[in-house]
């Protein structure tokens, strides 16, 4: 078995070889390298045709009209364009926005910027299972609320919000609803004919496409308008100027086509691997699954191993590529804000590991992971004073810690 084992598909996926093959046909002199905006020769026409096929492939995965798809550089840009674009365009209607504390930084930081620009933002709490309470959401809505942004699948814990119900609520109040679906494509069925979603962000590299490409769905009926954030040649119906990256767009289209074709079988396979992983580790003492046990995607499993610190666990799991909610993987001393928003204690938040499974994960890799996790937890607990205290029956909340 090749080591290390990649179990960080929620961070990024490798490009599917079939996608890479397609992508390479749009780069060199022998390929279709033309500028899709060139109207005067066949190099441009061919590239434009390829872009439009990709646009349709992306629209098909989410049951949208191809004319509702705007290409961007990734989900971060899509989130910026959607939230800033709509907030600014409709600012005369109101200047109140709502989002959720567990959103990706691309949404939270965009909201912070809008606050500096004079908007008022409500950051909703989530329940202990990571889900938004609809009653609380409704209570936060005001007559001057213009945009609500809530992600479909959480990148750290994998919980799936009830986008259908939230959409109905937003529509009934005439509020624009933006959904960051970067982690959702190919994992959960998305039907934009049914969902009352006005804006939806997509990413190429979370779904076996390349990095540096994304898309934003902008609903036509009822029509949603945006203030452009990037100005220039008026590409993408004026919403996002800049020469279209044909090779990346074609690759994202192919990746989304494969996602649609293979989603059912793939999710079944990944669910089986997830169950195998969880069944292999759940009997370790003081192990907790983070986020709702049912409303979740199968590919993300976020687990806290109590009394073991996340970064040292990652070091012990050096043959497995995973990520941690521990602060020690970043420069700050604060553990994951997502796990803290669920109300997890600091110890549990510091002790979390996100395993994310994907298209190329095998049973053998999962079995090896289970074995390494058992060894690492045993080793680190042997070394952990907190584990000793737990075993001695000491409540850690009653200890007078010397904080630093």
């Amino acid at each position: 078995m090749k080591l290390p084992i990649y179990l960080d598909y929620a961070a990024t996926t490798p490009v599917d070889p079939r996608v890479a093959e397609k992508m390479m046909q749009f780069l060199t002199m022998d390929g279709q390298f033309g500028n899709p905006a060139s109207r005067s020769h066949r190099f441009g026409w061919q590239a434009e045709e390829a872009v439009e096929i990709a646009r349709s492939q992306i629209a098909e995965l989410v049951n949208a009209d191809p004319r509702e798809i705007v290409f961007t550089s990734g989900a971060t840009e899509s989130n910026n364009l959607a939230i800033k674009g709509a907030a600014e365009f409709y600012h005369k209607k109101g200047k109140h926005l709502i989002t959720v504390k567990t959103e990706h930084k691309a949404v939270l930081d965009t909201m912070r910027q809008l606050e500096r620009d004079g908007f008022d933002v409500t950051y909703l709490d989530v329940e202990a299972n990571g889900l938004v309470d609809l009653t609380k959401l409704e209570q936060a809505m005001r007559s001057d609320t213009t945009v609500i942004s809530i992600m479909m699948v959480n990148n750290e814990i994998g919980v799936v919000q009830d986008v259908a119900a939230i959409g109905e609520l937003c529509r009934s109040k005439g509020i624009i609803f933006h959904v960051d679906a970067a982690q959702a494509t190919g994992k959960v069925a998305i039907d934009l004919q049914q969902l009352k979603v006005d804006l939806m962000s997509f990413s190429g590299h979370k779904t076996y496409g390349p990095k540096g490409i994304g898309a934003l769905f902008v609903r036509r009926k009822p029509r949603i308008r945006l203030e452009a954030q990037t100005h220039g040649g008026g590409h993408e119906r004026g919403m996002r100027s800049g020469t279209l990256a044909t090779h990346q767009i074609v690759a994202m289209g192919e990746a989304f086509r494969l996602a649609k074709e293979e989603m059912a079988a793939e999710q079944q396979r990944i669910t089986a691997l997830r169950d195998r992983l969880w069944n292999g580790i759940k009997d370790i003492e003081q192990v907790f699954l983070n986020g709702d046990a049912k409303a979740r995607v199968p590919n993300i499993t976020n687990v806290s191993f109590n009394y073991v610190e996340g970064e040292s666990l990652i070091m012990a799991l050096k043959d497995i590529a995973v990520s941690s909610g521990s602060a020690c993987t970043s420069a700050s001393l604060e553990p994951s804000y997502v796990l803290r928003a669920l109300g997890l204690s600091d110890e549990l938040a510091h002790s979390s590991i996100r395993f994310s499974i994907g298209r190329f994960t095998t049973e053998e890799q999962i079995d090896h992971t289970i074995k390494i996790v058992h060894e690492a937890i045993a080793k680190l607990r042997e070394m952990s004073p907190l584990w000793d205290m737990y075993k001695d029956g000491i409540d850690l909340n009653t200890v007078a810690w010397v904080a630093h």
Binding site: Y307, V308, E309, G310, E311, S312, M315, S326, A327, C328, T329, A331, L333, P335, S345, D346, E347, H350, E382, M383, S384, P385, L386, W387, D388, L396, W401, V402, A403, H404
Partner: protein, 127 residues
């Protein structure tokens, strides 16, 4: 996080992991840090009648450099008098392990652990 080979060595082969009996009068314990900050170090020293640290053990909950820092100081304090051990500086620990800037607090914690253990010993002996 790119760690030095010394950190990785101490992390993978930690020296002197364990505990002494708490009721042994020659044993003193220093526990510093907090779970909320992501690291807790427990350093125990065994001091002989001449005031020399004969043995040391640690248990640490924390990142790789916290574990390495505590492992290193158990080696360093052994054979030192309390006064000598008191002189160990976090900068020496950080330099020995080539800790990256964001991990300097781990070396500070290790220095604090030594001081806390010594203070505990002195208190036990009636100041």
């Amino acid at each position: 996080m790119a760690y030095s080979n010394k950190v990785i060595d101490h992390y993978e082969n930690p020296r002197n992991v364990g505990s002494f009996a708490k009721d042994d009068p020659s044993v003193a314990t220093g526990m510093v840090g907090a779970p909320a900050c992501g690291d807790v170090m427990k350093l125990q020293i065994k001091v002989n009648e001449q005031g020399v640290i004969e043995d040391a053990k640690f248990k640490t909950y924390g990142c790789g450099s916290a574990i390495a820092s505590s492992s290193l100081v158990t080696e360093w304090v052994k054979g030192k008098t309390l006064d000598e051990a008191q002189q160990i500086k976090n900068t020496d620990i950080a330099q020995e392990l080539a800790l990256p800037p964001v991990k300097i607090h781990c070396s500070i914690l290790a220095e604090d652990a030594i001081k806390a253990a010594i203070a505990d010993y002195k208190q036990k002996r009636g100041g």
